[in-house]
Every structure is written in structure tokens, then in C-alpha cells.
Symmetry: C2
Subunit: 69 residues, 2 copies
Amino acid sequence: MIIKSAQDIGKIVKEARKKQNFTQVQLAQLSNVGTRFLSDLENGKPTCEIDKVIKVLANLGIKLEVTNG
Amino acid sequence: MIIKSAQDIGKIVKEARKKQNFTQVQLAQLSNVGTRFLSDLENGKPTCEIDKVIKVLANLGIKLEVTNG
DNA sequence: AGCAATTATTCCCGAACGGGAATAATAAGT
DNA sequence: ACTTATTATTCCCGTTCGGGAATAATTGCT
């Protein structure tokens, strides 16, 4: 899926987390972030810090890729 | 290219920007971010805010994609 | 080498991040 | 419906982001 906004990432995270039967608390601990952060992220907060986002994605087995035209 | 850290994104941005003959000032104005932000981003600052990163990538024509195993 | 252009770093500072915890709201299960 | 689990929202608060501008450092060009 192509990412155009923070909201897109939030959706992805939420879906993947549920599919893997993680609670926010579990995934947060796993990723070394707070539960507040994870909730914010899943709800599309546009100012989440990039490395934390990357860590969460990694812990869900989601690959992040860039393609240059 | 697969993104594993903020530094990866920084490299991508810097390379793409140079390839398109943009200065940091130009790209920053285009993306509605400060030049400081762009410099930080290219140097792999891990706390850059996600939506600003996305905007910069978009203005370079770089597509950001996630792939769920 | 020397000059101009670009980039990196520092400063000030308002605004907001994110952690933790408590509370409210929502979803889920019996 | 009721209870429990999960998630969202609010609060306090230390820390830091990011803009803008100035300065240092680096790069590029002739």
C-alpha cells in the first residue's frame, strides 16, 4: 500500500496489530514506546516521530520501502 | 529500497534531491518545512515528524510503501 | 588556491511531543 | 444487560521539536 499521510500508517498499524492479536499494550512494550504513542499513531497523529514509527512497523513485520520513480 | 532507520530516509532524500538539482532551501520551501528540518532529516535525525517527512518525499516524487508479509 | 554557494550547527523560544497514570469511552464476551 | 478488556482521552511535566536567523563549516567551481 502506498502511504500518503500519517493516517494511512495508522490504519496499517491498527489492522496488522489486530490481525496478529496484539493489544496496544503488548505492541507498545515490544516496541519500546508508550501506549499513548501507539494510540496516537493508530489514529493518524501527524507529528509522530519517525524512528518510533519505524520500530512499531518492524515489530509487526511490516516492511517500509521507498521507490524512486 | 527497504527502510530500517531514519538514517536510511536521510540518505534517500539527499540523493534524490541532488539528482534533481534542488538546494535544501528550494526543497524546504516547496515542502513547507524549514531548512533546519531538512538538514536534520538528511542527516538521519530520528525524531523528525512523520508528516513532514512524507511531504518531503512526495515533493521528490518518492513513493513510500508498506508491504505486509 | 581562492571565491561563491551550499550545507551544517548553534542560538532563542514558543509549541508540542511522549511517558505515565488516571479516567472516560468503546468493544467484546458470557 | 452486565462485566471485563481494550482503546481513547485528559492531565502533569520534563524534554525536545522546528522555525528563523546568524555563524561556522563544507563543498563546488573556475
